[in-house]
Amino acid sequence: MFHGPLQTSVREKRKVKVKPYTFLGIPYYVLLSSLIIIPLLLIIVYAVTIQEQGLYYKFTLIYFRQFFNEHEFVKVMADSIVLALMTTLICLFIGYPLAYFITKRKPITQAILVLLITAPMWVNMLIRTVAWKQIFDMINPRLLGTDFAIIVGMVYVFLPFMVLPIYTVLSKIDPLLYEASADLGGSNLKTFRKVTLPLSISGVLSGITMVLLPAATTMVIPRYLGQNRVLIGTLIERKFYDSGNWGYGAAIAIILSLIIMVMVLFTKKLDRNKEVERDEKA
């Protein structure tokens, strides 16, 4: 008789106990839906509608068609992606050995070197780009505006994004694995190929994504080092600021996002393939 009611009261108490915490997220859910999800939907709405006779909005794909018909714009998009890919490759060829050499040093030296490589990231990106402009002005102003200057600037600004993730995975590899490989007769090169590289591939891939994404969309670097050359970021900016053609700007942004998404998914896929390969071998 006495047992029943007590139990229910305990249960009720427990319910009350958990519930209040789930409400803690409400301000964030409001923020998430109003400032993150709705803006994305708005981009899509703007890209596929056109205003006709005052207040009527009609579905249209005209902006997308227009974009692919303007060869100049398609070329800008292709240029941006090629420049970003070259930047990513150079960052990888500098960043990987750098991260690898750093892990071979004493722990305290490692900490200092990582700090030195990442410290400039805390300085405003525009200022770092301006610094390169000043250097080019000093050495040879004719270089400004070339692909070379743009790539140097992008490698400079985005290199830490490549070094950090690679360093993080490399520093976690157990040094005993290298010894084991050497004991089993593996040459330095073979150890690198069979041990180091497969174990660090996840860092490489996240480094690639972290460089490729901002490099493909930057507005700042082409402005200072490209002598106001138009890349895809600038093109979107102009659609919004100069011509006020927002639907077109939104459509270009969607095309850009899709291309980048495909590239990111492709890199992710590479990672999975590697894992499958490893599993199969094991």
Binding site: K17, Y21, L42, P97, M125
Partner: protein
């Protein structure tokens, strides 16, 4: 053989560091240049520092950069931390959906986030200015707070809060005494990330600040007649502050290492 390799890798590291620090060195050097040129040396002077502090426009940009960064950090850390705690008590499906949505602005190009917010403010007929800029900064900082704090909250023992409440704590007190002390480090890390993201932001600010709002990046980007040496002076001061903060942080964490 090993020594030989060490030397080669040392040279490589040195060259990369040279590449990293040469522009910064030249930036600092020419902030002390007596003439206006940024490429030829005309003697030592503090002229540009004086001019920097007299320039209302630059000072205004610097002050607003700080105001926005501080407010955005405080708000996004509070909202994000509470959300992280709340999320850990939600159902798994809901959590996964939220975390995936949360990652959208992190993996999306900044310019896409920026025009999305611009379209939103425009549709709401909100005049671009510091208000919209602050909202935008909160919007892109909070996801970083969540991805920093949430994993830490999730790793806590879920019975912790219950234990606190069984001992008579109200829900808020339970969080304050049982949860906060354990996620403090993650909250500080999140605040540091949010602050630097906001302080250095250009693209999103540029699209959401309208014609009235400004910050350091917008000021630099919209300069009409090239870059004056006052910018070198400003950069030098910022580099000095960053160096001090980073060095202090290094010394402090180094002590921690030793204690462990």
């Amino acid at each position: 053989m090993k020594k030989h390799n060490n030397l080669l890798s040392g040279i490589f590291i040195f060259l990369v560091l040279l590449f990293v620090y040469a522009p910064i060195f030249s930036l600092v050097l020419f902030s002390f240049n007596a003439n206006r040129s940024l490429t030829t040396w005309g003697g030592f002077s503090f002229e540009w520092y004086g001019e920097l502090f007299r320039s209302r426009e630059i000072m205004n940009a610097v002050v607003w950069t700080f105001i926005i960064a501080i407010l955005a950090t405080i708000i996004s850390v509070i909202v994000g931390t509470f959300a992280a705690i709340g999320l850990s008590k939600n159902k798994k499906l809901f959590r996964n959906v939220v975390i995936n949505l949360n990652n959208i602005p992190i993996v999306n190009p900044e310019i896409v986030t920026a025009i999305g917010l611009l379209l939103l403010f425009q549709s709401l007929k909100l005049q671009g200015g510091y208000g919209t800029m602050l909202l935008a900064h909160i919007a892109f900082c909070t996801p970083y707070v969540i991805i920093t704090v949430y994993p830490k909250v999730k790793s806590l023992d879920p019975s912790l809060i219950e234990a606190a409440q069984d001992l008579g704590a109200t829900p808020m007190r339970a969080i304050y005494y049982a949860v906060f002390p354990q996620i403090k480090v993650a909250i500080f890390a999140a605040a540091a990330i949010a602050f630097t993201m906001s302080f250095d932001d250009f693209v999103i600010s540029y699209f959401t600040a309208g014609s009235t709002g400004t910050n350091i990046s917008i000021y630099l980007y919209t300069l009409k007649r090239g870059i004056p040496p006052t910018i070198n002076a400003l950069s030098t001061i910022m580099i000095l502050v960053v160096t001090i903060v980073v060095t202090l942080n290094f010394i402090l964490t180094r002590k921690q290492y030793k204690e462990v």
